[in-house]
Amino acid sequence: MRDTISPEPLLQVRNLRKSFGIRGGLLGRVLAEVKAVNDISFEIGRGEVVGLVGESGSGKTTAGRTLLRLEEPTSGEIRFDGTDLTTLSADGMRRMRRRMQIIFQDPFASLNPREKVREILTHPLRLHGIGTASDRPDRAAELLEKVGLGRDSLDRFPHEFSGGQRQRIGIARALAVEPDFIVADEPVSALDVSIQAQVINLLDDLCDDLGLTMLFIAHDLGVVEHFCDRVIVMYLGRIVETGRSEDLYARPNHPYTQALLSAVPKPKPGRRRDRILLKGDIPSPIDPPSGCVFRSRCPMASAECAEIVPPLARVGAGHFSACIKTT
């Protein structure tokens, strides 16, 4: 655990929901609804780095974007440093964004190809009225240095950089306004392993040096264990388990977390015999199973799992799991 952690939460999320309408037909009516984020609650302490993991479509990106109100929540409460973001005016939210930034997965798509790095990094400074026109480039150069790139990068375009370097530029851009909180949405997933390790080390150093609070979204459980103080596991829009990394990885409680961890290939020769193999695919989020959303693939499921949505129950210090069989 990082020593900067204090118990006081920076972010408090209560019963957050985000649904998307699926439109179709001639009139473009809403035909169905995807409950991408379905009633999630959690807190992130100041200086804490929390991992958000789950398979494709589990709602990680939607959760991260809704937290920053890049998507409007369907319902629920998001408190940032005591302020409820869901009721904030557009102007109030714009000012709040200075304190909350996002880093995207795709270092190719997230940078404007027609802007030089100088513009990419001074833009957010101008937007938030930080510094003067003459000292902003210096500030941009400092940021580049922080992420391990030279001042000469200022006058180059994104296409002149490798994937890992572009991700560094994306990180520098997020850091430009000196945020307190960063949502990092799969920042290393598109990178080769050797480059991924460099970027993880960089993020690690930045979190330590700047005391950043971070929600780190990933599907790679190894990266999350390495880097995060605490982990939240999502499945089909819901949180199924959360706990401190050392507890959750050593003693996963939810059958889904257990299967997920056992599915990760280990760099140790030999065929795996101890693996929990789940049957079938992840169900469609348009029509999720009733009761526990995991029950259609769960090796332990029985009739009562269809009845109620299992609440998160305490299974250890700061460790919660949503399963009626194991809690």
Binding site: S194, I200, E246, A259, P269, R271, L278
Partner: protein, 350 residues
């Protein structure tokens, strides 16, 4: 794969005794704009024994896919060409084989699966029709027998209600089922070799685990050899008998899965191992031992060893001349001028 099972993994009889596929000094180049060319695969050699799984591992751009496309005669006709070396399938030279003969080999002798199932599946035909046409073409079965075979294959890969699913179009199948259908098609003519290029890379880990299990199960039953291309060392450790590590178009190390994972000799291989965050809790909070720098573009390769600018062990000899593959143990090849002098600092695997 009955013979293989009696031997501990990684200590299979040397593939070279009766290799199915022998690749020697393969060179593949692409024409680039302005009349230049790049050599994407530069002197790759390996053997593949019957029923064996050979993993080719390396980072993006190292030449894994180009190696497999060269083998299958599927290089882009206008720009890519095998410019040197040989590829022998049971003694028969595949290089420069006419397209018609190559087409027979693909499907009949060599099956292929890719990362994206829709590169092999045709969206306008039912999966049953696609598989049965393949069987009709290569096996000369009647229409009805071929459809029965298609259903049998869909069943074998674990698709529920295979007879009904055979009448589905690819878009009517879930992602996992599509992946299975692609494997069913690739194996429908019982090829001796399956080439799988990143077959699980786009999948979630729980689905990947199902696919790896399925492929190993099918290999046990049908006995085909597999060339498994991936950048995921975890997957390699799980499926491979032997491993080829590629860097910038070359083989930099090869050996049994145990040699590669337990005693790698090439600093690049060691660096890759150290870059993986391990799920073991032992190293939490520690910095990863990242390899510095990036893979050089093929047009800007450094003099000497291609890895030298990123290598902690590099000295003048590494910059002076390109190293050759040397034997570091039985069947263990390493491309490093200094492998005898250095000890790699590996993070524990326990």
């Amino acid at each position: 794969m009955t013979m293989m099972q009696e031997l501990p993994q990684g200590e299979t009889a040397p593939a070279s005794r009766h290799p199915l596929l022998v690749v020697r000094d393969l060179q593949t180049s692409f024409r680039t704009g302005g009349g230049g060319s790049v050599r994407a695969v530069d002197g790759v050699s390996f053997d593949l024994g019957p029923g064996e799984t050979l993993a080719i591992v390396g980072e993006s751009g190292s030449g894994k896919s180009v190696t497999s496309l060269s083998l299958m005669g599927l290089l882009p006709r206008e720009s890519g060409r095998v410019t040197g070396g040989s590829m022998r399938l049971e003694g028969r030279e595949l290089r420069d084989l006419p397209e018609a003969a190559m087409r027979d080999i693909r499907g009949q002798q060599i099956g292929m699966i890719f990362q994206e199932p829709m590169t092999s599946l045709n969206p306008v035909h039912t999966v049953g029709k696609q598989i049965s046409e393949m069987v009709i073409r290569h096996r000369g079965l009647s229409k009805r027998a071929a459809m029965d075979r298609a259903v049998e294959m869909l069943d074998l890969v674990g698709i529920p209600e295979p007879r009904r699913r055979a009448r589905n179009y690819p878009h009517q199948l879930s992602g996992g089922m599509r992946q299975r259908a692609m494997i069913a098609m690739a194996l429908s003519c019982e090829p001796r070799i399956l080439i799988a290029d990143e077959p699980t890379t786009a999948l979630d880990v729980t689905i990947q685990a199902q696919m790896l299990e399925l492929m190993q199960d099918l290999q046990d039953r049908m006995g085909m050899a597999i060339v498994f291309i991936t950048h995921d060392l975890g997957v390699v450790a799980e499926v491979a008998d032997r491993v080829v590590v590629m860097y910038a178009g070359q083989v930099v190390e090869s050996g049994t899965v145990h040699q590669i994972f337990e005693a790698p000799r090439m600093p690049y291989t060691g660096g890759l191992m150290n870059s993986i965050p391990r799920l073991d809790g032992a190293h939490r909070g520690q910095r990863l031992k990242a390899i510095r720098g990036t893979v050089p573009p093929l047009t800007e390769l450094p003099a000497g060893c291609r890895f030298n600018p990123r290598c902690d062990h590099a000295t003048d000899i590494c910059r002076a001349a390109p190293p050759v593959l040397e034997e570091a143990g039985p069947g263990h090849l390493v491309r490093c001028a200094r492998w005898r002098d250095i000890t790699l600092d590996l993070m524990g695997t326990e």
